[in-house]
């Protein structure tokens, strides 16, 4: 689509795009180029020179059991966060959609945790499950369950998943509720007249009609789990215990800034770049024209 009416001039528009162009070049393309360039070298132990290793960093990474484990951890983490937050949100949205009055109130009550930063959510959940002072871990102790996410890998994973999913419920709820309310009530009532019960109606009518929303949320939530949960991991577990919660983004940070392994960190950045690229393409290819009722 193009505008019919245009203003004349070449320098003015170039001047107008300059601020964005400069920022993008300096803080996006140059660093991305640097990451690609650095991924082909390893610095010597004194950081004085760089040695060309070609794809050596990548070969090393892909054969590194820790890096592979981090891939598996990331996959599991993303799936769990997506399923938990979307599941709870869908359940609440279905309930709210059944109400004639009051769904607006619940909406207000449920959407605001969107504004709570993942890192703050991390601190709140860390506080509840803290091994020494946490309220929930204390009550679990009364029940005879010894909670210790500092040592237990599954418990650590469970905690970061719940803390990450918790803040995400709002977002998913909002979109699910909108999707549900967009389904014509007449269709559902027609099914009800035919004697279809709630569960049958949900399975055969609501769920298929909701699938565009579901798919959209699926992609968006995976992106969230991959890239925006750093704060949760950093505050609660710091990637531990034994790297059990070291997702890919966390590993780039800890290898690059904590261990100062620049070649490996750069190679990891490049791999992440490819992953974001794929996710963005999926997002654009499928979501742009995803509704065909």
């Amino acid at each position: 689509m193009e505008k019919r009416v245009r203003f004349k001039g070449i320098w003015l528009p170039i001047l107008l795009v300059m601020p964005q162009l400069i920022i993008t070049a300096v803080f996006f393309f140059y660093p991305a180029g640097q990451a690609i360039w650095q991924s082909l070298f390893i610095p010597d132990p004194f950081g004085l020179s760089m040695q060309w290793v070609g794809l050596g960093n990548f070969e090393f990474l892909l054969s590194d059991p820790y890096y592979r484990a981090s891939f598996v951890t990331t996959a599991m983490f993303s799936i769990l966060v997506t399923v938990v937050s979307m599941g709870v949100a869908l359940y609440l949205a279905v309930l709210a959609d059944r109400l004639i009055k009051g769904s607006g109130t619940y909406r207000t009550l449920l959407i605001w945790p969107y504004a709570v930063a993942p890192a703050v959510a991390g601190v709140l959940w860390l506080f509840m499950f803290n091994t020494r002072v946490g309220v929930i871990s204390w009550y679990l102790g009364l029940l005879g369950y010894d909670w210790n996410h500092v040592l237990n890998e599954e418990e650590a994973m469970g905690l970061v998943v719940v803390a990450s999913a918790w803040g995400r419920i709002s977002y998913n709820f909002l979109f699910f509720l909108a999707g549900l309310q967009a389904i014509p009530k007449s269709v559902i009532e027609a099914a009800a007249i035919d004697g279809a019960h709630f569960w049958t109606r949900f399975r055969t009518i609501v769920w298929p009609l909701l699938s565009p929303t579901t798919f959209f949320l699926l992609v968006v939530n995976v992106v969230y789990a991959f890239f925006e949960t750093f704060g949760v991991i950093h505050t609660i577990t710091g990637g531990g215990p034994q790297q059990a919660t070291t997702i890919l983004v966390y590993k780039v940070y800890s290898d690059g800034f904590v261990s100062q392994d620049l070649g490996s960190s750069a190679a990891q950045s490049v791999i992440l770049l490819v992953i974001v690229g794929l996710l963005t393409i999926i997002q654009f290819k499928f979501i742009e024209r995803r509704v065909h009722y």
Binding site: F29, T108, M128, R132, F227
Partner: protein, 300 residues
């Protein structure tokens, strides 16, 4: 036009819901079960925040001797005063100011540069216009988490560590905002630009007098989302600010937790957590309509 599920339609047209009780609507026991389910959901969402609030109003002795109380104590004023004006590493008031500057800088900066470049792309024909468009598109694929080490080096080379410009500039470019304004400008009737041209108005005059006022709602909606985005940044401030007085509040909380075996000062930490939530939550609740709109717009 994408057919996004549009929460706006629901806010804008409550008439759909005012139809008389449909046969699938529930009454009696079932209605109560629906409410019960929702209330359990709301409680689940609220509980961590309630607990944080309670912890911020009692003494540390009460917190570290579990189980801590579940109703607020009487130390609200003392704890919040201590957090705001002395804090643990730096006064929280100072960290909130840093967060505010960062969030405003990112939100206004993104909006300003995106408005200008969208205006150029839509209303002018200039060399490399398509190239430029694709360059912006590519930035979608470069979240800061992916390019942290080299971006940090750039900021360090510019001497931007521990500075507001270091907190703001690397996060200011935004493909989403540019696309959003481009899309909106496309829907502005051509007659307006035509009339402006016939009247001999210069392009920038048209931009400021006509386009900008027309974009008011879009700008406001986007501002809400970007403000929350900026306020809630974590990784970038963590790298850029080593000086506690330049910490933002969201990243500063973690710095308050002791690393060793010491007991944390939980009431102050929790008061800080509550303070960190207040501005973005107030924005969401106070501007709910704009917030929902911004959320939907920015996902298109």
């Amino acid at each position: 036009m994408t057919a996004n599920p549009d929460p706006l339609a629901q806010t804008a047209a409550p008439t759909v819901k005012s139809q008389p009780d449909g046969m699938v609507e529930k009454r009696g026991a079932s209605l109560w079960l629906t409410h019960l389910g929702l209330i359990i959901g709301v409680l689940f969402i609220f509980f961590p925040i309630w607990l944080a609030f309670v912890a911020s109003t009692v003494t540390n002795a009460e917190v570290i001797r579990p189980p801590m109380p579940l109703v607020p104590g009487d130390r609200f004023l003392e704890n919040y005063r201590e957090a705001l004006f002395s804090g643990i590493n730096a006064p929280v008031a100072r960290m909130m100011l840093n967060s505010l500057i960062m969030a405003m800088g990112i939100a206004l900066g993104k909006i300003a540069i995106s408005l200008l470049s969208a205006f150029a792309i839509v209303y002018f024909r200039f060399p490399f216009r398509k190239t430029f468009f694709w360059l912006i598109f590519l930035t979608l694929m470069l979240p800061v988490e992916v390019r942290i080490v080299p971006t940090y080096e750039v900021a360090a080379n510019f001497g931007m560590l521990n500075s507001y410009s270091g907190l703001i500039f690397p996060l200011v470019a935004s493909a989403t905002a540019t696309f959003l304004f481009r899309q909106f400008f496309m829907t502005v009737p051509d007659e307006l630009a035509e009339a402006a041209r016939v009247d001999g108005a210069r392009p920038m005059r048209f931009f400021f007098d006509i386009l900008l006022p027309m974009s008011r709602t879009n700008i406001a909606a986007l501002f809400v989302i970007l403000f929350i985005y900026g306020w809630n940044q974590y990784l970038w401030p963590l790298l850029i600010t080593t000086d506690p007085s330049m910490n933002t509040i969201v990243m500063g909380i973690k710095q308050m937790l002791p690393t060793g075996d010491d007991f944390a000062n939980w009431p102050i930490i929790m008061a800080t957590s509550i303070l960190a939530m207040i501005p973005p939550v107030a924005v969401v609740i106070g501007m709910q309509r704009l917030f929902v709109r911004g959320l939907v717009d920015s996902e298109k």
